[in-house]
């Protein structure tokens, strides 16, 4: 079960973390797994994910003293905006070239799915899901990874990406439908290709 912070808790962490190591520890424990999972899905390789996560937190530490809390979700949105920017810079440095990753390069995967599941299977599943997400438009990739792995709510994603909340919800639903059709395709289900093209058109318009 994923934990959420109340507005008071979030405000407390935002105000105390720069001066109180205990508050910083709480902030770190709360956000580290989410940042790492989000970054790992975006970059794939465990080493890159660690490097980027470290960069994100260094920037958080550097900026915490100047951060002003401005209401519910502000801290989360600020932290994930840093993470999002780091990912964007990462791909800019790499010029968008995708690397073929071996399973050894992938991060360890935690799973709460029922049934037998070994490390190798989890890594393969992670790689397959990444591959599916990579087929989406960059915006939908971003929204789905922020929602599922960064565990952000729609209004927080909207703030990170500077979008309207309804636009985020729409992208999320369309992206999932798109993903589902590819997922069914891989697992042997029927693929409504016409709908996929229609989705792309709608996405371009939005």
């Amino acid at each position: 079960v994923r934990t959420t912070l109340t507005t008071q808790e979030e405000r407390h962490l935002a105000e105390r973390a720069p001066v109180d190591p205990t508050a910083f520890h709480q902030l770190y424990q709360h956000y580290f797994p989410r940042i790492y999972a989000y970054v790992a899905y975006r970059v794939g390789q465990a080493q890159d994910a660690e490097d980027l996560t470290a960069e994100v937190f260094v920037r958080i530490v550097e900026g915490l003293g100047r951060f002003e809390y401005r209401g519910e979700g502000a801290l989360t949105a600020w932290i994930f905006r840093i993470a999002h920017n780091q990912v964007v810079q990462f791909y800019r440095r790499r010029s968008g070239a995708a690397l073929a990753l071996s399973l050894d390069d992938l991060p360890e995967i935690e799973s709460d799915l029922p049934g037998p599941d070994d490390t190798l299977q989890r890594k393969e599943r992670f790689q397959r899901l990444r591959g599916l997400i990579d087929t989406l438009s960059p915006r939908r990739q971003e929204i789905i990874t922020l929602r599922f792995f960064g565990e952000l709510r729609n209004h927080e994603i909207a703030e990170v990406l500077e979008l309207d909340e309804r636009t985020v919800a729409s992208h999320l639903c369309r992206g999932l439908e798109d993903l589902r059709s590819r997922y069914d395709d891989e697992t042997g289900g029927a693929v409504p290709t016409g709908k996929r093209d229609g989705d792309r058109e709608q996405e371009r318009q939005s």
């Binding site: 530490v61 991060p107 999932l176």
Partner: protein, 311 residues
């Protein structure tokens, strides 16, 4: 459109439930997405947190926040930096400039008449009332030299004064527990009489304590003067341990002094002459040996088990 909207709302609710409750929904895609989470190496996570906490300290110059757990107790003081000239140096410079300007103005008025030279204050012969060029040049040189001396003196004074205002210590400091009052041997350490100070690591004695709570229940094994750091070697866990320390000390005692066989010392022995120390360890001097070989090495005296003087 309306149907699509309803479908979206249902899907969003399903996502929310899957993420917050952590239970599989039966939708394989949602379950795989929500249930396949990359997990960082635990060592990496812990190391990064330590590095960030250290960085947080650097970002907070002058703070005295203590870290808990595995984090090092460190204090960082801003390294004093001189940004431009201080007010003292500036004042000295202004005074010096005023002196120079005043003298120069004075010198420009020299040719106005012979009177200023009559007193001979600037090196002109009394009988020669017309200042020649060499005399004026020499006088100007003298003025410049005097002005330079004034500036040098003023700057040196200001710089010296400035140094006394800048903290001599900079860099990371570590907490050191000291005692506010003297502690006699055998006395328990009083937590209320302790204080934490911050020392540069390079001058730390061995075995200092950083947290007064670590000293709870310990006894002074030695006389500890006020404002001295408490170290492991000067403390014991019980009065009996203090007696044991004394029993082992013959390795450092002069060979003519041996501990008596009356040990262990009773912790409730009567204080002598108002001395509040509950433990007193009398020492006996044995007769001097006729000769002490130069290569003499003292050896520990075995712990006496029954009565009878040792040695």
């Amino acid at each position: 459109m309306n149907e699509n909207h309803t479908h979206d709302k249902a899907l969003l609710r399903e996502i929310e439930r899957r993420l917050t409750e952590g239970r599989p929904t039966g939708d394989p895609l949602l379950d795989e997405l929500a249930g396949t989470l990359p997990r960082a190496d635990a060592d990496f996570q812990a190391d990064l947190e330590q590095r960030l906490l250290a960085r947080l300290d650097i970002a907070r110059p002058g703070t005295q926040e203590e870290h808990t757990g595995m984090t090092a107790n460190t204090l960082t003081i801003d390294t004093p930096t001189r940004r431009g000239l201080s007010s003292l140096t500036m004042a000295a410079a202004v005074v010096a400039v005023l002196v120079i300007v005043g003298l120069l103005v004075f010198m420009t008025r020299l040719p106005a008449g012979p009177e200023p030279f009559a007193s001979g204050i600037i090196g002109i012969d009394q009988d020669d009332t017309t200042p020649d060029t060499d005399d004026v040049t020499a006088t100007l040189d003298e003025v410049y030299l005097q002005a330079t001396a004034v500036i040098t003196t003023a700057t040196a004074w200001a710089a010296e004064r400035e140094d006394t205002l800048i903290p001599a210590i900079s860099g990371p400091l570590v907490p050191v527990v000291i005692t506010l009052g003297e502690i006699l041997p055998g006395q328990p350490v009083d937590a209320d009489a302790l204080a934490v100070t911050w020392w540069p690591p390079e001058i730390l004695p061995d075995g200092v304590y950083g947290d007064p709570r670590d000293l709870t229940g310990l006894y002074a094994a030695d006389f500890i003067a006020a404002y001295q750091p408490l170290t492991e070697s000067r403390l014991a866990e019980s009065p009996e341990d203090i007696a044991r320390i004394f029993l082992l000390t013959p390795t450092v005692l002069p060979p003519t002094v041996v501990p008596p066989e009356a040990l262990p010392v009773q912790a409730t022995s009567t204080p002598v002459s108002g001395d509040p120390s509950p433990v007193r360890i009398p020492l006996q001097a044995s007769p001097l040996p006729p000769t002490i070989p130069p290569s003499f090495t003292a050896t520990p005296v075995p712990t006496p088990t029954t009565g009878g003087p040792s040695g």
